[in-house]
Symmetry: C2
Subunit: 246 residues, 2 copies
């Protein structure tokens, strides 16, 4: 190097992962960020593009800067399933002891991610307890969300799943639980593959929620929640008369 560059590279300086105290890069010192920015690989991905296998090979730790990344599995006969959604701040650690295929990461919206190699990430985890805490919290949250998602897929009807999906989107969006209008974020086909439905069923289900007066569809991707208690009851699997009362 020409001279000791004690400044943070631009790619990190303005990164969204520093802008919220809950996010990983907000835990780091200037020195750590300088070092990190020499090793990190921020990348933009277009919708439907997979995260390059070559990138993952060297850099198996992915932090989602913005957009939505899906973990996609394709069954032998072509059925596609999206097992997990990753949103801003989520840390995806694809390293596994057993070398079973783990599915593929695909951008479901235009997205930006930041890829790290094992050594850098492990060192950061070891040396910075705040990074470690944030990362472990994120893993715990992922485990918890995965459990809730399993409940959705296991026992809920199509309208119930869609109600649950609307709340899931809202929770993960800027503004969170106070938003009245939620962005569905994904295309119908992706919502379908994530919620274990067909695109047609998603369409009919959303219409059904609208017919019941629970939501209003604003264009193709926005939903306004009209009756939040009832929508919540429905998402929690309450029978019709309970949801109506809510």
């Amino acid at each position: 190097m020409d001279r000791p560059a004690a400044t943070i590279a631009d790619k990190c300086r303005f990164c969204a992962l520093r802008m919220d105290s809950q996010l990983i890069c907000a835990q780091m010192s200037v020195g750590e960020l300088v070092e990190l920015s020499a090793r990190s690989n921020p990348t933009s991905i277009n919708r439907k593009q997979p995260v390059s296998a070559r990138l993952l090979q060297r850099n198996p730790i992915i932090a989602v800067i913005d957009g939505v990344i899906g973990l996609q599995h394709v069954l032998k006969d072509g059925r596609r399933s999206i097992a997990t959604l990753f949103w801003q701040g989520d840390i995806i650690d694809l390293r596994r002891p057993t070398q079973r295929p783990a599915g593929q990461l695909v951008a479901l919206t235009p997205a930006r991610i930041c890829a790290l190699d094992s050594e850098t990430f492990d060192r950061l985890m070891r040396d910075n307890p705040d990074v470690q805490a944030v990362t472990i919290d994120n893993m715990r949250e992922q485990i918890h969300l995965a459990a809730e998602h399993s409940v959705d897929l296991g026992k809920k009807s199509a309208p119930e799943r869609l109600a649950a999906y609307i709340f899931e989107c809202r929770r993960r969006q800027l503004g969170g639980d106070s938003l009245k209008t939620v962005d569905l974020a994904l295309r119908r086909a992706d919502i379908a593959d994530y919620m274990g439905l067909q695109p047609e069923t998603v369409s009919r289900g959303l219409k059904e929620l609208e017919r019941r007066g629970l939501i209003a569809l604003k264009g193709r991707s926005k939903v306004t929640i009209l009756n939040e208690p009832a929508l919540r009851e429905l998402a929690n699997g309450a029978p019709a008369h309970m949801a109506a009362r809510a």
Copy 2:
């Protein structure tokens, strides 16, 4: 105390969590175990018993010693869903920032667990890198298994789900991938609630796998795998002609 007790309490001395190098207590020094055994709460639970809320209040970290623990959610109208199965060595960390209800832990077989309080667990994680590594590995594995389970629930037919369940049981059992005869571990109703089916469908599905010559049912809870490649193809969602060829 009467005198410095430098011995490990019996409850820890013979614990299965020390007997395998992958498990959490096998990472600990004698000194740590002595200290730990003063704080840990090994408990036996009968099938269908929930893990006591009082225990969890004080000790939100649970290690599964043996048996199967399920994370159960009950919907507003009574439908029951088992989101996750925890087996020997799994570490359940129920602490969450947001105080949303997280479901209930229930023993699905006679089980033994060991409950720890936050402080003890966090200190152990901080002071012992091996404990930390094992625990983080376990969390990563849980995230991964949850993703696979979501694929099962989202897009697979009843026989496919049951084939996948048989492999999941085998993987988690002593002997693992080499076993020919697998213990289904759970009752039909619990398998149903875990795989997003009804008990009747589980029964019919297992019969169907038997009819196709993929498995043989030995009593109510044992299954012998007769055609492993074909069963695997089926579990992976291959169409009938591919599975038959396998």
